[in-house]
Symmetry: C2
Subunit: 240 residues, 2 copies
DNA sequence: CGTTGCGTTGAATAAGGTCAAATAGAGTGG
DNA sequence: CCACTCTATTTGACCTTATTCAACGCAACG
């Protein structure tokens, strides 16, 4: 393991900051023991079954979590991007229940379990931030459940694109134009669809003039109608 | 609001205890400020949009959370039973994002946000317990996403029944025989299916000899094959 | 070039949804 | 206790949607 210890985390990349205009994930005081690590594309941060050592904050890059369906195949549950934090699933009983894989060459910090767990050894800032991130993850998964449960395929894809757009904007990037870091297969798994259906739906959204898709490059042309599609479930009908 | 203040929480009901054989949700020391409240069937603990005041531990009864799909209809995301804790979704920005409704006459404790958030004002026991519950909720929602994403209807129902069985057992009840607290409609919403499909699948599982269902009363006859159904997705084929 | 991994396209199929009607309980008042 | 009502649940016929399975296209790369 190529862990390094850093005295400061102030070197984190420019336009990437945490969503809440707050303290940052590491408190202000003692950053001595925060560890820093590079992960190259396709490599795992941890696997399901691994011991929980701490949670991870993404400095650059992006990741996905997959959960084994016990019948062999893995399903993608979440994506995480720079500035976000993952690994909370291991706190239940010191064992990770999902695997986390890098979608591209990335850099992360680990916040050791001792600092996560022991209220005395941590700054109030860190404590509050972690609770916020966990809460956010719970909210997001509730939303995803609604999506998977009651929406049809185009609406699922539209929801995903809008969520991505929001997160991109929060990170200081354009909300209208971005590059998908994941493959069609990973996306399909995440949305609970097949690759074919995802592809066909990209086509359909393009035909309707809502998006412009070239391979992994996506441009959102009509956020208005994209949102309407999510809410009403209606297709090409103009819902202004 | 019919809140009452109790000096002790030792009066909690007999065979209901927290899953981890641990300290209990309130630490050991200062229980002075833990508040106790009755909620009758159909009433809400809080609605989406309400201010976050704290998290809630269930003393008796059961609850469900619903999330609005912005197109009017609500979808059931989770069920909670005695001994479990809910309300973490509000910690993100002091606003609840889902509503929680009592499935039967129930009793809950509130743990105020001040005690949840401020690491200095709380016992280490409470702190660790809350993190555990949040972690558990994250794990559970990942499982649910897998279920909603990649399983077909019978497998979803089977998964739900097995999860329920596990939770019943954890609370000291029979894992093979229990009463569903929720309506078919609520269950269908939770599983991302229609009431008709849920009903038909109960029939199918009964025809296959896996369960015995009479209205809300459920008996699991063959956990073995029920699990196999989840894992393989195979139907009536004997998969021993 | 040929190969390999991804992504797209098309036709057939099956799973689940939709709609409408029948049935069964639970609650109410006589 | 019985009729009546209201709601929840079940059943059946039909239809929409997404999957399945197969073939094809297209870059990237040796």
């Amino acid at each position: 393991m190529d862990w390094q210890t850093h005295a400061s985390i102030s070197q984190r990349t420019a336009n990437i900051d945490l969503q809440p205009p707050d303290v940052g994930p590491y408190g202000e005081g003692d950053e001595e023991m925060v560890q820093h690590r590079k992960i190259s594309r396709g490599r795992y941060v941890f696997h399901a079954g691994d011991r929980f050592d701490g949670v991870y904050a993404i400095r650059t890059g992006s990741f996905l979590t997959e959960v084994g369906t016990e019948s062999g195949q893995e399903q993608v549950t979440c994506f995480y991007f720079a500035g976000e934090v993952f690994g909370f699933d291991g706190m239940q009983d010191n064992l990770h229940r999902c695997s986390v894989r890098a979608l591209e060459d990335s850099e992360i910090y680990m916040i050791p379990s001792s600092r996560v767990r022991d209220p005395m050894s941590q700054s109030p800032g860190l404590q509050r931030q972690l609770l916020r991130y966990m809460s956010e993850e719970i909210i997001r998964s509730h939303r995803l459940m609604v999506m998977l449960g009651s929406m049809r395929s185009e609406a699922r894809l539209a929801t995903f694109l809008l969520d991505l757009s929001r997160r991109m904007q929060a990170r200081g990037y354009s909300p209208n134009e971005f590059v998908l870091r994941m493959s069609r297969g990973e996306l399909a798994s995440h949305l609970g669809l097949t690759v074919e259906t995802v592809g066909r739906n990209f086509n359909r959204l393009q035909e309707w003039g809502l998006v412009d898709v070239v391979r992994k490059h996506v441009r959102l042309l009509d956020m208005e109608r994209l949102s309407a599609l999510v809410e009403t479930g209606s297709g090409s009908a103009s819902a202004t």
